[in-house]
Symmetry: C2
Amino acid sequence: MNKHKRVSLKDVAQFAGVSTGTVSMVLNKNPSVAEKTRLLVQQAIEKLGYVYNRSGAQLRNRRTGVIGVSICNLANPFFAEVTVGIEEALEELGYALILGNAVESVTQQTKFLNTAREHNVEGLILMPAIGTTREMVEKVLEWQIPLVMVSRYIPGVKSDYAGTDNYAALVTATEHLLRLGHKRIAFVGANGQTTTGRDRVRGYKAAMRSAGLEIPPGYVVECEASREQGFQAVKKLFATSEAPPTAVACFNDLLAFGVMLGLRSLGMEPGRDCSVVGVDDVLEAALWKPGLTTVAMHSQTIGQNAGKLLRKRLSPGSQPPEKVLLRPELVIRDSSSILSS
Amino acid sequence: MNKHKRVSLKDVAQFAGVSTGTVSMVLNKNPSVAEKTRLLVQQAIEKLGYVYNRSGAQLRNRRTGVIGVSICNLANPFFAEVTVGIEEALEELGYALILGNAVESVTQQTKFLNTAREHNVEGLILMPAIGTTREMVEKVLEWQIPLVMVSRYIPGVKSDYAGTDNYAALVTATEHLLRLGHKRIAFVGANGQTTTGRDRVRGYKAAMRSAGLEIPPGYVVECEASREQGFQAVKKLFATSEAPPTAVACFNDLLAFGVMLGLRSLGMEPGRDCSVVGVDDVLEAALWKPGLTTVAMHSQTIGQNAGKLLRKRLSPGSQPPEKVLLRPELVIRDSSSILSS
DNA sequence: CAGTAGAATTATACCGATTCAATTTATTGG
DNA sequence: CCAATAAATTGAATCGGTATAATTCTACTG
């Protein structure tokens, strides 16, 4: 109502004829306030159009109700989906998210983490950007702010972690192709920059090895996880190898999309002439033609788990760091099929 | 360094042997502090490991350095990209973003906007969720917090707005097809739930009308924006109409991909037997065979513009609300061609 | 060298809520 | 009906900065 000066708790108290302490208790649903006065205060709040001011509160009682979330790359649908899960889990508990997009730059990431600290976040969720070192994270841990790492981890760092088993994901994907009779299986998207990348390549190699298969040279294509790079990778794969692969396991769905498009541009039909398997099961995967066979990483659930871990960490009593690893799940669609010939 | 009690500005002042006011001035880069004392204070800050506490500051000087961003649906890559742009523009100015994902629910949206207000955000950026009414937005405007709407708008609401001209996008797309000689042009993906949807259909219809063409019944297909729906839409389009279209303008690229696949499944080659045009210019568009002719909407730039508008609105002096509409840009590839026959 | 403009610094009230010991009011048992 | 106890309320100190008026320190002029 009032145009110029914001209504403060003091104004409400005055209007209702009680003390500020009482109003505060009403706002915090303190049971030791009489029903009669509670109503009185509530009416005053209504009447004056009072808006709770967290700045005042948080100064006194260190609780800001804010969580910092550092995202390695928000433009990547996978991490966007993880973020959705985090938001969902924490919003429910009344927390607000302050969010930073590192765009895979540790400088940006550090800058954001420092800002978050100044804003007195009660907890931090970190999807480490490429190049994040153990030292960096340990410095943050010294701040004594509850920290949960998500999706990627940093070896040796003692902290909560939520993710999906990347190693198992590529074992699953590769074994699926093996079961369909494929033997010449390539891997597109090798990338040693993150744990995610390293674990996935390891999974692929392990599955091939335990099937007793050699990986021909050139079958492991290093590249970034984008559609274009997948598109390029296929060309390389089919141009140079004497014996072209009959199936391609990809680092993630984005790459798989690129690979499928690349196959088409070479006159091959994905799923028929060459099987393609992705990882992530982003929303789009089901909408492709052919539908992409992929390994669901449950991005949104990862986010929710991160939220839950943080919630545990925020409540009093200190437990040792916990790692919550989801089991990846094979989703069979039409981009993979039995090897014919 | 200190383990238990956080170092405050007062501690720094004491250690450096100056007053709190001086320390505050150093922190705020106030030029009227002597170089000598500035260094002294800086050293003390370093030594004690002081961390700036915004809670204290914002209480006094109403500046929180926080902007609230309400996203209609973060899982949608288009809006995620817009968010990236917003982050980029505001992070640069030292603002932190508090973020809410409405998931297309006005209840969630309202809840978030209220929280943001309690957190004393200095500005709000709103991508309205489906079902947002004029009344809702006008209530927010009454809060006197600078507000910028993005991508979608609410007719009749007086506020800053950043987006790309959706009407022009479909005029451009349709006129491109008309120039190629097409007359029987269908539209796939009509959807009246958002201004985006309504404006695009309007653009298509206007272009057809000003070319003096009637739109045959069944030529405007209502459906959701997914590949699968595009795939289905084509079948409907070619099954029921006596005179099948020679070109299809689509609500967005995703649908266009579905349409292209649908055409193939009917034995037609997109770009040769039927032209297809999309909207958005997602990364994939260039990789398809044939490359998708589309209208670039520059999602990230929209976000940056929103950030810039807000920055203007935050600086003193009140101008009338401003609408920044990007000009969509036609990107011609191979999915559209001259009408032969 | 006095006088003074200007630069640098300080002291203190203040922002808006919370907290908790102290006080007032209500309730109950004898 | 009073004392004892429980319930409800109050008031002032407090959190950590910032603003500003007042003050001290410098440097320069005539």
